[in-house]
């Protein structure tokens, strides 16, 4: 019994320490990034390259996710609207869920899966093949050269992609309403516009910006902390994906709560 308790305490303690280490590492990295931004000390070419890799290459997956998010929300809302006859809330229901909750979370998760995991793998591979040491040996600081451009790109592009996602979610919702549910798309869009969802829209963008910051810091932290070859890279990518997904839900809760005050 005593042994089992000790083992349990040891496991819990180990898990708490691992979480504290990840949060500490990512937050420390965030402060180092902010220090590199004031005054600006980063690779401008790298920033543009990262914007392209992070943003332009991610928009198809965001558009696809957003179209389905809009479609799913219409189908879910239509069920209750038809049951209660409250046709006036279909636009509000869809808009609220898409702008404030489901849209940011699903787009954030897709982005973290595509960009965050790729980022950890890329940086981790650079670490184990000594490319990061080679940069240091060439007197090039890896932080402004590798990390800051990725941070700016993820922060900027995820926010912009969220706007694009919101737009395509409405398109997905309108198409589904018209083609599958039997509501005229104009009714849905007009109701959505009348619902004045500016707060929900801005909440979604704030969430996207926070997701961008956390995905960049967590994925870069795990990438740069890789030890032990290919196995280490695999482990880091796995930890990065799990930590990013957890962070997305925590941030979504915190921002949602703050907006509700």
């Amino acid at each position: 019994m005593n042994g089992a308790l000790k083992s349990l305490a040891s496991s819990v303690g180990g898990a708490v320490l691992a979480i504290a280490e990840t949060i500490g590492g990512a937050v420390t990295l965030l402060f180092r990034i902010l220090r590199a931004l004031f005054p600006p000390r980063y690779d401008a070419e790298g920033v543009w390259r990262s914007f392209y890799n992070v943003g332009v290459k991610s928009y198809p997956i965001v558009v696809m996710t957003a179209l389905f998010v809009g479609a799913i929300m219409v189908i879910q809302t239509a069920f209750y609207v038809k049951k209660t006859g409250a046709t006036g809330i279909i636009g509000y229901g869809v808009g609220f869920s898409v702008f404030a909750e489901i849209g940011p979370i699903l787009i954030g998760l897709m982005f973290s899966g595509r960009v965050g995991a790729n980022n950890t793998a890329e940086l981790g591979t650079m670490v184990v093949t000594e490319q990061v040491d080679a940069l240091r040996a060439l007197a090039i600081d890896p932080l402004p050269y590798l990390v800051v451009p990725r941070f700016l790109a993820m922060l900027g592009m995820l926010t912009l992609l969220m706007v694009l996602g919101d737009l395509f979610a409405i398109v997905g919702a309108a198409l589904t309403a018209q083609l599958l549910v039997g509501f005229h798309w104009r009714v849905l869009v007009a109701d959505l516009l009348q619902s004045r969802l500016l707060d929900e829209f801005t909440m979604g963008l704030v969430k996207a910006a926070c997701f961008g910051i956390s995905i960049s810091c967590i994925s870069c932290y795990f990438g740069l902390a890789v030890r032990g070859g290919a196995t280490g890279v695999g482990r880091a990518v796995n930890n990065s994906v799990v930590s990013n997904a957890t962070a997305i839900f925590v941030i979504d809760f915190v921002v949602g709560y703050l907006y509700s005050l």
Binding site: M126, T129, E130, Q131, D133, A134, L135, R136, A137, L138, A139, I140, D141
Partner: protein, 247 residues
Amino acid sequence: MIEFIDIHKRFGSNVVLDGVSITVDTGQVLYIIGASGAGKSVLVKHLIGLLRPDSGRIILDGEDITWLDEEGFYPIRRKCAMVFQNSTLFDSMTLLENVMLPLRKHHKMGRKEAAKAARAKLELVNMDRDADQYPAAIGDGLRKRVAIARALTLDPQFVIFDEPTTGLDPMAAATVDDLIRSLRSDAGVTCVVVSHDLRSIFTVADRIAMIYKGKIRLDGTPEQFRNSDDGVIHQFVNGLPEGPMSV
């Protein structure tokens, strides 16, 4: 002048360097030899701050650089280049872009100017024809030649070569040997070369230091190594499978 003074380094319980002291005079080519895992690469990485000693001091041109912080090491790294054992080219860049990178970062050169200067460095190692290839498209030996070109872009005063001829064909290895010789004779560059290549060692080295069990076994001229009656030195220099060193 480079001075390693009583360097100790361990990884966990594994003692790699146990009081290593070596001095390299300006313009000299020092070869550091020893069995695989003896700590040769570990020692040279201390010179540019990629590793820090547990104790001991490193003096470069009279300046104690042992405990400089990461930023403090950047000026040191600009005058002391390193060619890594595994080439470490950036695989997202072409060979030309790899060589251009330090020029663009440190000399603030424009793209065209940096490309011209980088091509000249690639010519030194006969790699200018492959300038637009990516590292993954060429072999290990060719990558190593490009890594040498990249290390020389900032015209360093000191160059560390970590096994520069390993994996090269004999002609390419001879080209690298010539390059090291010309760096010394034409530009007065001080070279520290980690190598197992006996042919290179005995044709290029001014001095040789052998690390064995974390300590310097012998620090002397190629002649002293050839004539040594120490069993460990004799076994290594003659490449014998039997002897006091476990293989």
